[in-house]
């Protein structure tokens, strides 16, 4: 094939590639990874009151009355007695750890009211505990989803999941325990599909005026509606310093504004907090959420001493509501704070075309110059 034919063929292929694989279409943002815990809903027993793959201490029993899912759940009646399972894990990786839990412990909400543990031990390859997180929670009387995002320490080889009752008179029931690797999205319940009995999204902090809304969500069944100015919707994640975090969110509003001075009806924050909870860096973007869903992006590079990244959304001003749906937080390699590199990953078809075109031009130029 002649040289110019090759060039034309290459260009045609690139154009076809660009046409066939258009970018920017909606992508699923859930994490599709598998549960690392085996027999997570205690359906398989190896002995009475002894679910397979789990080790249990005193005071644990199988309960078949009113499990959250399947035929059975596990009941803890003695405090500080564990039901545990160890699973292999990778260091410096994000995981979600969630469980359906209920309790009949009547504890008044005062200083020390957390009646349940969702405990995690991080083990090195010799089985030594590197770090432990007790994960105390207050569990109510009806089944609810509890949990958190975890970030495994360096040298982690295994995670030991420990479930237990912490204090009080009564029992705690556990079912549907999940430990999943997070990659595509570090947020829990990012599209607000899981709500509690008061219509608040699980794992999210909500200020006054925020509620789950079922009309015209961006994806799924729910989105969040905020009606009060300066009231926050937030979620926090563990983080390491010198990492790059990018948040994408879909927004819409019916807030009527006039073009001019301050008509930016929405604000999105990405805050970096140290281990004491002090904000050490903050990226803030005030924006105008439109009438129809629109995606917005904000990113932050976590400085030294960052322990937590907190994402916050709020309605700024104006009469009307702000709707939020389908959020995504990704931790990206630090070199991806260079915007163009991030863009290359986000829009591969275009950059394949672009760099090929560039290459063809350079090769052609060299060829013309040398020929002379």
């Amino acid at each position: 094939m002649k040289y110019h034919k090759k060039i034309i063929l290459s260009v045609l292929m690139m154009v076809t590639c660009l046409t066939i694989i258009p970018g920017g279409t909606g992508k699923a943002r859930e994490n599709q990874s598998e549960n690392l815990l085996r027999n997570s809903d205690f359906e398989v027993l190896e002995a009475p009151d002894k679910p397979r793959f789990w080790s249990r201490g005193r005071g644990w029993s199988l309960d078949t009355e009113g499990p959250y899912q399947g035929k059975s759940c596990m009941r803890a009646s003695e405090a500080w007695r564990w039901l545990l399972q160890e699973v292999p894990a990778k260091p410096e990786k994000y995981y979600s750890f969630t469980a359906y839990v209920k309790s009949d412990i009547g504890v008044a909400r005062k200083t020390d009211y957390q009646n349940t543990f969702l405990w995690l031990d991080y083990l090195d390859k010799e089985g030594k505990i590197i770090k432990e997180e007790s994960g105390p929670i207050y569990v109510a009387s009806s089944w609810g989803l509890y949990g958190r995002v975890i970030l495994t320490p360096t040298k982690t080889e295994k995670i030991r999941v420990k479930l237990g009752k912490r204090l009080g008179e009564g029992s705690v029931w556990f079912d549907g325990i999940e430990l999943k690797s997070l990659s595509n999205n570090l947020l829990l319940n990012p599209d607000f599909e899981i709500v509690d009995s008061e219509d608040r999204p699980v794992f999210w902090g909500v200020g006054r005026g925020w509620s789950a809304h079922i009309t015209r969500p961006y994806r799924g069944r729910n989105c969040m509606q905020g009606t009060e100015p300066w009231q926050q919707l937030w979620q926090s994640l563990p983080a390491r310093p010198n990492r790059f975090f990018a948040l994408k969110t879909h927004l819409r509003s019916n807030i009527t504004v006039t073009e001019g001075a301050d008509n930016l009806n929405t604000a999105v924050f990405l805050m970096c907090l140290d281990s004491k909870g002090k904000v050490i860096k903050q990226e803030e973007r005030a924006m105008l959420a439109p009438f129809s869903w629109q995606e917005r992006e904000i990113s932050v590079y976590a400085p030294d001493e960052t322990a937590t990244v907190k994402i916050t959304l709020l309605k700024r001003l104006g009469k009307g509501s702000l709707w939020v749906d389908d959020l995504q937080v990704r931790q990206l390699p630090s070199y991806l704070r260079i915007r163009i590199l991030r863009a290359i990953l986000d829009d591969k078809p275009f950059f394949i075309f672009y760099f090929s075109l560039y290459l063809i031009l350079i090769i052609s130029l060299i060829r013309v110059v040398l020929k002379r």
């Binding site: 904000i298 915007r339 163009i340 002379r372």
Partner: protein, 442 residues
């Protein structure tokens, strides 16, 4: 492979059409054209996806998207042709930009491109693809201008020099790919008009000029020169005026039919006509003002009327002098400077002294752009890294630390005007005053 061969054949035919036969016959000239074309393309391809000028580029594409994507057929607000032109390309690009409503949307559906839209645009993951696509229409006309220059010159050396001057011209590259305005389109039609004028096809020449008028208003001030110099008799001049005004007239009828009288009014308002009246002398009584550009325009038009030899050279030299006077005496937006380039190319090919003057002009122009602050500084490169480029200090601020920046810019602006006037004077003196025709473009 059969299809491929056909496509190659079509491309070959296209190349044959855009590069005149005489240029293709000589191997060294053909290589030279190809080399500079590739260099020019590399510069253009580099800049196309990374620079954005707010609000102009986003504004025109946003309003055009109302036509292309939102079924609002009359969103032009005066620049009807330009908006439909952009809407046509948006329609073609639609499958390549399925994310368009996420990257460019005015939540209020108003006609302007707001600061918030700009921030959302430059931070969108597909900003580079979008900018590249947005500038493709400009690239087509820009290259069209370069190839038209080859056709205007029959002398190969002059033709290639004109081609090179255009293809690596910093003003062309700046106005088309950095400031990203559609100045290449009227430039193409003006060059086409000159091409027809040179080939004694004055009707087509005026029609082409008329098309450039509906893309951008400024060729309207050139039209009387075309009529006076290309038409020897009154009837001929009336005929040429008719052809020159036909596209504008048709556009007005369309505006009246679809948009009503208000649209005609918008259409007839030259957006920058106030610029003509910036430099003036007030004679201290009543409303007695003398507008410098109007004086110069009148003088030049009447001079052309009484002294023309009806030649192609008289035409483009007169028009070039007029534009030089405009830039010397009137305020202009940065991308307007490209208006000068098609005509200046013809002059530079004839007289190499003008290359040095042009370089000086460009240096002064760089300082002139400082008065636009961040819009023509850090903002241009925000797609690369918004936070970084927004935080950069502007040249205006840096200069202001050491010397009043307004005065500094003013000095360079004055030098710019001085160079423009000198250029105008040199052309006027050598061509019109001597009455010689040594420098006729062969």
């Amino acid at each position: 492979m059969d299809i491929l061969s056909k496509i190659i054949e079509i491309i070959k035919r296209l190349v044959v059409k855009v590069i005149p036969d005489s240029y293709r016959k000589e191997s060294s000239i053909r290589t030279s054209i190809l080399k500079w074309l590739l260099i020019g393309l590399l510069i253009r391809v580099t800049l196309m996806p990374i620079t954005v000028y707010h609000p102009d580029l986003l504004g025109i594409y946003w309003r055009s998207s109302l036509i292309a994507y939102h079924k609002m057929p009359w969103a032009g607000g005066g620049q009807i042709f330009a908006h439909y032109f952009h809407a046509f390309f948006l329609w073609i690009f639609k499958p390549l930009m399925p994310y368009f409503n996420n990257i460019l949307l005015n939540p209020t559906m108003g006609p302007g491109a707001t600061e918030d839209m700009f921030i959302a645009f430059v931070n969108h993951p597909n900003v580079f693809r979008t900018l590249f696509l947005f500038k493709i229409p400009y690239l087509i006309f820009d290259l069209g201008c370069a190839f038209l220059l080859l056709r205007i010159f029959q002398d190969h050396k002059k033709g290639v020099l004109a081609f090179i001057f255009w293809i690596v011209n910093p003003i062309v590259i700046f106005a088309t790919y950095i400031a990203a305005r559609y100045e290449g389109i009227p430039a193409f039609f003006i060059l086409l008009s000159l091409y027809y004028a040179k080939n004694n096809s004055s009707t087509r020449s005026l029609l082409s000029l008329g098309i450039s008028v509906i893309v951008r208003w400024y060729p309207l001030i050139l039209l009387p020169f075309f009529v006076v110099i290309l038409g020897k008799k009154l009837t001929k001049r009336l005929k040429l005026a008719f052809w020159g005004l036909l596209p504008l007239g048709s556009m007005m009828i369309l505006a009246r039919s679809f948009g009503g009288p208000r649209e005609v009014k918008v259409l007839t308002q030259i957006p920058w006509h106030e610029n003509f009246f910036g430099m003036r002398f007030y004679l201290y009584h009543l409303y007695d003002n003398v507008f410098v550009f109007v004086v110069a325009y009148t003088f030049l038009l009447l001079y052309a009327y009484f002294n023309t030899d009806y030649s192609f050279t008289s035409l483009w030299k007169a028009v070039l002098i007029l534009l030089l006077l405009f830039f010397a005496t009137c305020f202009f937006h940065v991308h307007y400077l490209m208006w000068l380039i098609p005509l200046l190319t013809l002059q530079i090919v004839e007289d190499r002294r003008f290359i040095g003057l042009f370089v000086a002009l460009v240096l002064c122009f760089v300082v002139y752009t400082f008065q636009w602050g961040q819009h023509l500084a850090g903002f241009l490169f925000t797609p690369l890294d918004f936070s970084y480029f927004v935080s950069l200090r502007t040249p205006f601020e840096i200069i202001n630390q050491y010397y009043p920046a307004d005065k500094f810019i003013g000095v360079f602006r004055s030098i710019f005007s001085g160079i423009s006037l000198l250029m105008a004077y040199l052309i006027f003196k050598e061509f019109f005053l001597r009455g010689e025709r040594k420098n006729e473009v062969p």
